[in-house]
């Protein structure tokens, strides 16, 4: 097990959104602008790293049968910290992410990493895994956010990019656009995968 491999696998090879198809609700809901996407990605990364470290520390004390409720309590604690910190320091972001901040608790990426990795591996590797997966999640969100905001609103980070002649594809920032964009990206990555395997 190499450190760089554990860290970088979340970026592409095991990207939580495009490869493992996990954590879809926040992916679809907050990718309507780049700002929201990065905010959500950072919040989820923080929770993922902290919960991975704590769960890895307590992994030998936790009885097998009740491990899931214990993991959920650990995750929910960090989500509460993020929720309150975000409401205090970035109220605008907190407002536009809405209920998806408390819903980080049920993001399957976080519980999935706790169950599949942090519950079985040492603290340092769990930290790397959490960080890599979190950044992978953020990259996927940002890619969707850039696409949807650029084509659907003609803006990037809230700044207009195109001249006045550009007619935005409004559907992309509405709910259907999220499904369409993600579906096409998933297909695109499948296609690349098939090409490179040949």
């Amino acid at each position: 097990m190499s450190m760089t491999k554990e860290f970088f696998k979340g970026f592409y090879a095991e990207n939580p959104v495009f490869r493992l198809v996990l954590g879809l609700c926040p992916t679809l809901a907050v990718s309507n602008s780049v700002q929201n996407a990065i905010g959500m990605g950072a919040a989820a990364t923080f929770v993922l790293v902290c919960s991975n470290v704590i769960i890895s520390l307590i992994r030998n004390m936790v009885p097998k049968k009740i491990r899931i409720p214990i993991y959920i309590v650990v995750i929910a604690t960090f989500v509460t910290i993020v929720d309150l910190a975000m409401a205090g320091f970035a109220p605008d972001l907190h407002k536009s992410l809405g209920i998806f901040v408390p819903l980080i608790v049920v993001n399957c990426i976080i519980l999935g990493r706790a169950e599949a990795f942090a519950g079985k591996n040492s603290v340092f590797y769990s930290l790397l895994d959490g960080l890599g997966m979190g950044i992978g999640f953020m990259l996927a969100l940002t890619l969707l956010g850039v696409t949807r905001e650029l084509l659907g609103d003609g803006k990037l980070w809230g700044v207009p990019v195109f001249g006045s002649g550009f007619e935005p594809v409004l559907i992309l920032i509405l709910p259907p656009g999220a499904f369409l964009t993600l579906g096409l990206y998933l297909g695109f990555f499948n296609w690349i995968d098939k090409k490179t395997k040949k």
Binding site: V21, L24, C25, A76, I99, P176
Partner: protein
């Protein structure tokens, strides 16, 4: 509170703000369990059931244990000077209530109706991490719904989820035989279908009630 406002809540959470297609809650089971109509129906009923119960339970917890009000039980129990504000615990409290509730429902169904257990059983553990359930309880809180309104909202949100799930399953059974580009087979085409369905449901936002 009148019947009319309950009706509006029901219609808007089934069609206009459909949980899956416009609020993006419960996407994982929506994509994961929509391959066959039978399992879609089973999952749908389990979700309706747990959502209604969860709305009920979390409303009670919120109003009698967490909210700083004279009706807060801790206030009476410890005869404090002022009602304690425990709202910061809501995420932890709600997720634990849901997890316990799902476990409890699973045990009750197993005892009372083995037939129902066989058809719903495998979906129940999946429901704990279904964000639609936690989502509906937090929305009830944000929208300041009363007890009855919360129950109606929970129930109809579940019905909306089931509707979207069953429609999707019907389409996906046909997609199995359709000529689709190799790279889009499976999950990607399911998302594109969901996008088209979401466009159709967008039409409901023009609906005027009341």
């Amino acid at each position: 509170m009148e019947v009319k406002s309950l009706f509006i809540i029901a219609i808007s959470s089934i069609f206009i703000n459909n949980f899956v297609l416009s609020r993006f809650l419960g996407i994982c089971p929506y994509i994961g369990v929509s391959k066959k109509i039978d399992s879609a129906i089973g999952m749908g009923f389990a979700v309706v059931f747990v959502m209604t119960l969860a709305s009920m339970a979390t409303w009670l917890i919120n109003n009698f244990l967490l909210k700083p009000s004279p009706s807060n039980l801790f206030y009476h129990l410890f005869s404090a000077k002022e009602p304690p504000d425990l709202m910061f615990l809501k995420t932890i409290a709600f997720i634990l209530v849901i997890a316990a509730l799902v476990q409890f429902v699973e045990m009750v169904i197993q005892k009372l109706s083995p037939g129902l257990y066989r058809s719903l059983g495998i979906y129940l553990p999946l429901i704990t991490t279904n964000c639609a359930i936690l989502g509906v309880t937090i929305l009830n809180l944000d929208l300041n719904y009363s007890f009855i309104e919360s129950i109606v909202h929970g129930f109809s949100a579940g019905v909306g989820f089931t509707l979207a799930l069953i429609l999707m399953a019907g389409i996906r059974e046909r997609l199995e035989l359709a000529p689709i580009p190799e790279a889009l087979k499976g999950i990607p085409i399911a998302f594109i279908m969901a996008g088209l369905m979401s466009i159709a449901f967008l039409g409901f936002s023009g609906l005027k009630i009341g």
